[in-house]
């Protein structure tokens, strides 16, 4: 959900603590943050999402720019929270090969079937075939709609490295989907 032209006014009100403005920001940006946490395997996506917004609201005065910059800033915080979460729990998102997901694909156009329905769980399984950095790059591009440069800033990498990560990620995904098909 985009706030459009109303964003500047909402951010200004939120910076002086107006509850309605804070709520608008949360309603607009919590779903993608929550989706990112969920797809990246955060231990408690709801709590992590709340943590992101509490941290963001504490530092609203340092936020300048438009809605896109605000979104990029939120996802930068989200990624840091996720890293903290992983350190705390000392575990990685469980990885399961696609073969274990159960296949009832019996033939036909595998890709066409894959186009129809790829559920949340299957997205996670596909993502699990990627490295954590590759997952971050893909999700920050698709969910947060960040540019290569913004992702490079968020991840502390060079833009060229981000491009390489997304190339490899897409190559892996294409290979997995084309070779194994996506179980339905």
């Amino acid at each position: 959900m985009s706030l459009g032209e109303a964003f500047d006014g909402i951010l200004g009100a939120a910076q002086v603590g107006a509850p309605w403005a804070l709520t608008r920001l949360y309603d607009a940006f919590a779903p993608p943050i929550h989706g990112y946490m969920r797809l990246r395997g955060g231990s408690e996506p709801d709590e992590l999402t709340s943590d992101v917004f509490v941290g963001a609201f504490r530092n609203l005065e340092s936020c300048a720019g438009g809605e896109h910059q605000f979104r990029a800033w939120l996802f930068t915080i989200a990624r840091r929270r996720l890293v903290d979460d992983r350190r705390r729990n000392g575990r990685r998102m469980p990885t399961r090969p696609l073969d274990d997901a159960g296949t009832d694909v019996t033939g036909g156009d595998v890709e066409a079937e894959a186009l129809d329905r790829i559920g949340d769980e299957r997205v996670r399984r596909l993502l699990a075939t990627l490295s954590p950095d590759q997952q971050d790059v893909l999700l920050l591009r698709l969910v947060a709609d960040l540019t290569v440069d913004e992702i490079a800033t968020a991840l502390g990498k060079r833009p060229g490295a981000v491009k390489a990560l997304q190339r490899r990620a897409l190559a892996t995904l294409r290979r997995e989907i084309g070779r194994k098909g996506v179980p339905l």
Partner: protein
């Protein structure tokens, strides 16, 4: 047969790895041929990340319900209020020691600038005045070397009603130190004191037994002694010994240096 099969491997790889093509696909633009699989994947990813916001945690729920006030001490509000400038009367001020140090630095800087602008004659006159003042101060404090201190005391006591320590002024200090160390020889001290008393016309200033002649108990001169000559010799300043000259030497402006502010340093916001 899928669209991917339409392309020989090399052609497909070249096109697939094109950053511009990847960028278009990731932005959700119409995918190039062979990228349909990715469109479905991207749609599902975006779908998984949309929907309604999850229920906020306890801390966040309170924040969303009540916001944050503008009361002093609230971290959020304190920082936010500073974003548009401090409230009237709450300007940040420099610590006192920094104000003093800034004033001293400004004064010294201005003084150095003034001195640099003086001519040779003015600098020479200023040097003499500073040397005389420093000598006077050292003599008054009794810290000159023995012979010099004696000469200074003789001259000052001749031309002024003041009495200053002479070169033997360390006698009392030495006695005191010896007493603390437990090594006092009464006979030796007695003879030395007698010798000093014979050599010095008045009572030794460092071991006073009463106010010196011409001095009130507080040390302030109350009147010239009868033996004071009518005028001072040309080589001694007419005024009492002081650490500063009576007036500025020629070439120095009468007022303070221009770089010294008249009032306290202005607080920086």
């Amino acid at each position: 047969m899928s669209d991917l099969d339409d392309f020989p491997d090399e052609m497909l790889r070249d096109r697939f790895l094109d950053d511009e093509v990847i960028d278009r696909a990731l932005r959700g633009h119409e995918p190039p041929r062979g990228w349909e699989w990715f469109t479905a994947f991207a749609d599902d990813v975006r779908g998984a990340a949309s929907g309604s916001a999850p229920p906020p945690g306890i801390g966040l729920a309170g924040l969303l319900a009540e916001g944050f006030s503008t009361d002093k001490g609230d971290l959020l509000v304190t920082a936010g209020s500073n974003a548009i400038g401090p409230a009237h009367g709450q300007e940040a001020r420099l610590p006192k020691w920094r104000k003093i140090r800034m004033a001293i630095n400004e004064f010294l800087g201005a003084l150095a600038a003034k001195l640099a602008g003086l001519g040779f004659a003015a600098k020479a006159a200023l040097g003499l005045a500073v040397a005389a003042a420093a000598t006077s101060a050292a003599g008054a404090a009794g810290v000159l070397p023995g012979p010099a201190q004696n000469a200074f005391a003789d001259v000052v006591e001749t031309v002024t009603p003041l009495q200053v320590p002479d070169g033997h002024s360390d006698f009392g200090t030495r006695v005191s130190t010896d007493a603390k160390d437990g090594g006092v020889d009464g006979q030796e001290i007695s003879s030395e004191a007698k010798q000093l008393n014979d050599h010095t016309p008045g009572p030794p200033s460092s071991v006073p037994v009463g106010p010196p002649s011409g001095l009130a108990p507080s040390g302030v001169p109350v009147g010239p002694p009868a033996s004071t000559p009518a005028g001072p010799p040309a080589s001694i300043p007419a005024g009492p010994p002081s650490s500063t000259p009576a007036g500025p030497p020629s070439g120095l402006p009468p007022g303070p240096p221009s770089g010294v502010p008249a009032g306290p340093p202005v607080a920086q916001p």
